[in-house]
Subunit: 363 residues, 2 copies
């Protein structure tokens, strides 16, 4: 194999592929990155078996071929290459000679035949923008279950119905839903993808309007982002029927400044830390809400606009904070039914782009 | 005690005082910060016994008094205060009530009488700018000995002679000297201050032209930076006579681009890491220098301008890198006598603002 390519393009592809390279694996080959030179392109493939990534960059290929190089080390070397281009040639003993500018070195590689092949994924394909998928993932991922007692809840549900797509996460204490409209209409279908894998996907996505396609087969999902492809295995099992647990009535409704409330939660968490308190109380009295932190003398008042009955309700402060950080709106709407019923958090414009539910704590 | 002060000014002072608050101390009181309200100011004092810091900020004092609050926790709370001003009042049980904006809380404090007093330091006082002291410390601190077998070498020598001041560090493998001209003339004197303490001092100093005064007593040094005061104990013992080990002759002299060489050293360290190599060879041949990394296939050529004989010399790559990072000049001059004699590094303008010496490794 012998090719040369642009260093910036190589680094851009590697910064994506690195997400599927395990730091340590019992199978040494998985710590590597597969480099294949074909026609006028180089394909970089990495996988930790849960997640697979394939990136393609243009290259001048003098001799086709393939090799597996130590993944993280190769990424580090590539990042420090001095020239605009790099030339890589691999001999029959899988040793890669790398030269760029006035610098040259060699790296011992492994046989490409040992590298596992990524599955081919075919099925229903929905499209949206990178930005949309990114918003939905960042808006829900925090709420997946950490506890593995119900493995299906450690993933996010991708729920397609007509021209609606929702991503849902819940862990028994809170629930997060983010929605987007699709351009086309699809039969109802739902699939669950692991939270860890989606965390890596979210890191790869940029805040831009480029198209992303998401293709679901029975066992896998394939997400195409430009010349890059991310493949993950679906989680098996039935997801919770989340629509049934969403309350439809409320007694109190408040509108509050998101950053103001987030700053107050930040202070509450800090003050609570010393006495290991996690419980924050919201006391709604007309257009003022008093925030109290359990077992501390902390008290903070914030202005709200409220509708309905005054009330008092307590939450795990972290659950409130997680929601506030996941939203970017200036203001949010919170709806309460009683101090033992879940609180719902909506956009103030009446839209359905997100919906959060937090269970209160009885005091 | 009861006072109010500006939150930004308080945070600025705390960001300095925190450097002398130990994360954990067998004496709980040292984890605290002493807060004294006097006349129209508040004085914040922290010490880990090796280093003491005192900061003064303007305040509206309604009742004079003092308290010791848990240091790092108080810093965190202060950083998150919502208002422009904060009001602190302490009751007879040393509980501080803190309020700012619509937020209030209380923190349990300790009796101020238990807090150790900082020593009063009187003696020769030299002055320079913050920027100058910062440059000299950052330019030498990396070279202090880590190994405590000769404790005096774990500090920096402050060498005052006439209107010259040098700061010197050496660890047996390399030596660093940074010099500044003083406005006044002083009798020759030298003092050694611990490297760890000076590391904290360097972090406090800004890159600005404000005056700093450095006062040496027999046992302590006191550095005044605006309204802030840093006090440290001097190290006892005789420092090495470093002037005797500086070679005066050379056979080869090269001028090299500092960043270019630093980038090459960065690559050499990365490539060497895999084979645990630390030895880099410089091969000077006319106006080209070839860089080779031991036990690797790495080779890099860089352009230099050279004078004198061609030569080959090897160093610990980290020692070369440390010097290159400590300098901000575009180009540097390196002088070699033989491949077993120390290499000297000078500014290319012939000045004496810095001088570095690195011992080569025989190969």
């Amino acid at each position: 194999m012998r090719f040369s390519c642009n260093v910036a393009e190589l680094n851009n592809a590697l910064s994506i592929a690195i997400h599927a390279i395990p730091v340590k694996s019992p199978k040494l080959i998985l710590e590597g990155i597969l480099i294949e030179a074909q026609q006028n392109a180089v394909i970089l493939t990495s996988t930790d078996m849960a997640l697979g990534i394939e990136c393609k960059i243009p290259a001048i290929v003098e001799m086709e071929g393939s090799v597996v190089l130590p993944g993280r080390f190769f990424c580090e070397v590539a990042r420090k290459l001095p020239g605009e281009d790099v030339r890589i040639s691999v001999n029959e003993r899988s040793v890669a000679s790398i030269s760029s500018g006035f610098f040259k070195t060699s790296i011992a590689g492994m046989d490409a035949l040992e590298f596992p092949e990524l599955p081919v994924v075919k099925g229903t394909t929905v499209t949206m923008t990178e930005k949309q998928l990114r918003r939905m993932l960042n808006g829900t991922l925090f709420a997946v279950a950490i506890d593995e007692s119900r493995p299906i809840l450690t993933g996010c549900l991708f729920d397609v119905d007509g021209n609606d797509m929702s991503i849902v996460a819940l862990d028994g204490y809170r629930l997060a839903i983010c929605r987007e409209k699709l351009e086309n209409t699809f039969d109802a279908s739902s699939h669950v993808i692991g939270g860890k894998v989606l965390g890596d996907v979210a890191k790869i996505l940029n805040d831009q309007d480029d198209e992303v396609s998401i293709c679901f087969s029975r066992s896998h999902v394939c997400i195409r982002i430009g010349e890059n492809m991310v493949i993950a295995r679906l989680l098996e099992g039935d997801y919770m029927r989340y629509k049934q647990i969403l309350p439809t009535e409320y007694v109190t409704r408040i509108i509050v400044n998101r950053m103001g409330l987030a700053d107050a939660m930040d202070r509450a968490m800090l003050i609570g830390r010393e006495s290991k308190s996690t419980l924050v109380t919201f006391k709604v009295e007309g257009n003022q809400m008093t925030i109290l932190m359990q077992n501390t003398s902390m008290e903070e008042k914030i202005e709200i606009s409220s509708e309905g009955k005054d009330m008092e309700i307590a939450f795990n402060v972290k659950y409130v904070m997680d929601v506030l950080k996941a939203i970017s709106d200036d203001e949010i709407e919170m709806r309460f039914k009683s101090n033992v019923s879940p609180c719902l958090i909506y956009p103030t414009d009446g839209g359905d782009q997100y919906l959060y539910l937090i269970l209160p704590v009885r005091v």
